[in-house]
Chain length 346, copies 2
DNA sequence: GTTAGCACTCAATGCGCAGGAGTGCTAATA
DNA sequence: TATTAGCACTCCTGCGCATTGAGTGCTAAC
């Protein structure tokens, strides 16, 4: 026995129905559907087959059927069609995205908010990761006795800075000279290796300034690495609308899992290797998300993937719609960011 | 009839009991308590009086009594005693507070985390508000053709920065000169007035650079004002442990109120005028928090109040413990921050 | 003023029963 | 041979009802 055309049609109908209603689908409701000219008995036979094949499950004997993870997998791989965004949905996204581009963190926050508002699921977003960026410019600015500002600028046009201590005898000219040397020597060096390279390559040369160098390098590293594992999260409570989470304990498990953002961070980092990813129910590594699905997309600056965002919802999810929304958002984010660096680079 | 000593003793006992058990307190359980040598009948009479006075409520005729908001108010104002922190609690707080002081946002995040971990309620924290700080230094750093970084440093030692566009013909020397002039002229000027003052006092003088000035001033304003209304939130799901929120709809209301951080932001801003504040149940302005209590504390840098943090819990809250925890945290934060500026100022 | 005793109230719990949605199987039908 | 009508069966769901027990208020005695 195998999955013929009619079985696929029926399976699709069951998934559609279940996604809408959240309750087990009976044979009668399918046979009454537009486009099916089969009696409920025939559907029943087919459903029994689909169950045997592992695409359907029965909560108990006298209930209808619900799709299994395997069914959703089949659905997203072969049966699903994208659902274009309505003008309304586009409008919702647009009204959320108001931040200026140079405030990346807040852009990502708004991305998450827009996604959760438009999908009614939980949304998350990873800010751009700078470690793979390259150094464009480094500048030390004297502030006052004993303090200076160190500013690094990446090839993607973003700046990070930190106030650092400097030796009392260090003058403006020396800082200026150092800025020039560091910029010249370490331009195009990747941000994640710069700290080490500065110390090994300059440590001996500037032996008497070693402590200062160390200081500076540490400050840069702190600002550039995603130390805090930031994940912008929005709409966690959206999940409480769905009958899957009518039970407080279920809700607690889910909310606790997303509140401790480590799980999400790891998932997104893993997904950042892929343009899009869909993880269904039991495919999730995290125990608490075994009856959720996670859909992610990765945005780029130019050719370089920079960060990932996505949504979490019940396995019973509107995959088509969600994918379209993510695709739209990926496109506009990537475009915005890419234009930004093009402009930066002239 | 008035509140004599015995009534107060009984009321305290009922509150203690109810805070522990979350279920209506009967006369028997009080009469059996250590220290009471009264029969349940006597307690019943007293309880009837307390109800008449508005300190107790009865969910239904054959249930015990629960304390009213008025009772809690009385309790925190007159009956409560602080509960010293256990070494364990101090340790929990310490292990959470690991961030460097110059990364204020992450310090506040950790403050909220520590508070929620140690109290098992929901915690929130407002980062320092810079508008009342004074300018110490302003620096324009040339980045490359058409761009510069503007950095402002406050008397409290914190730096904010933004990338701005500059006219193509603007050279490094001009930026340096401008930095010196701006710093000299507007040093000690309050951050919330600086934008306006720069425009009125320099606008004519630097007529040909007016557009640029405007640009710069706007960028500063964006970074300095708490536009994003950031509230660090932690442990929202802690509330789901309490029987008050066994119903998903209750939970949803609470979590939604807390997720849209505006309510919290406003509450904290209002509370920032007070060293400590306790708001009980119906005293809350926000409808969704009418059966929560909010306890806040304000931390300072030197003499200046800088921000506020606090916890939200069910009205049935361990007020004594919570106040002690907040007091401890207020002290250590204020101390840390004050030392920080002392050091900055030499 | 305090307490023992008692009748009363009312939410919570458990049980049984009817209703209904849905199934699988069989036999008839096209 | 595939489809379908029919039917017995399963099992969740909701409802009504009686039972239980914690707690009360009141009265009368101490």
């Amino acid at each position: 026995m195998e999955l013929d055309n009619r079985k696929i049609q029926i399976l699709t109908a069951i998934i559609d129905e279940y996604v809408m209603s959240a309750s087990p689908v009976g044979s009668r409701s399918i046979s009454k559907r537009e486009g099916f000219h089969l009696s409920s008995a025939t559907i029943r036979n087919e459903m029994a087959d689909l169950e045997e094949l592992g695409y359907l499950e029965q909560p108990h004997t006298s209930a209808g059927r619900i799709p299994s993870d395997k069914a959703y997998r089949m659905y997203v791989d072969h049966m699903m069609h994208r659902a274009d965004l309505t003008p309304d949905e586009v409008r919702i996204i647009r009204t959320h995205m108001t931040s200026r581009l140079d405030e990346v963190e807040s852009v990502m926050k708004q991305t998450a908010q827009a996604l959760s508002a438009v999908t009614n699921y939980t949304a998350m977003a990873l800010p751009p990761i700078f470690v793979r960026n390259r150094l464009k410019h480094i500048q030390l600015v004297p502030l006052r006795e004993g303090r200076a500002l160190v500013v690094v600028i990446t090839d993607t046009g973003f700046a990070r800075d930190a106030v650092i201590r400097i030796p009392d005898d260090m003058q403006a000219e020396e800082l200026e000279r150092l800025s020039r040397i560091l910029t010249m020597r370490f331009q195009d060096c990747r941000m994640d290796t710069i700290a080490e390279r500065i110390m090994t390559e300059m440590g001996d040369e500037l032996f008497e300034r070693r402590a200062f160098l160390n200081n500076m390098v540490e400050a840069i590293e702190r600002k550039v690495t995603p130390e805090s594992r930031t994940v912008e999260l929005s709409g966690a409570t959206n999940m409480l609308h769905y009958p899957e989470y009518a039970d407080v304990n279920k809700a607690k498990l889910f909310l606790t899992a997303v509140e401790g953002k480590d799980t999400l961070y790891n998932m997104l980092r893993k997904a950042s290797k892929l343009e899009f990813s869909i993880t269904i129910g039991g495919e999730n590594e995290s125990e608490e998300l075994k009856d959720c699905s996670v859909v992610t997309a990765t945005y780029r600056m130019g050719d370089e993937p920079m960060g990932t965002f996505g949504i979490i919802g019940p396995t019973r999810m509107q995959y088509g719609k969600v994918l379209s929304v993510l695709e739209y958002m990926q496109m506009s984010l990537s475009e915005m960011l890419t234009n930004y660096i093009e402009e930066e680079k002239h």
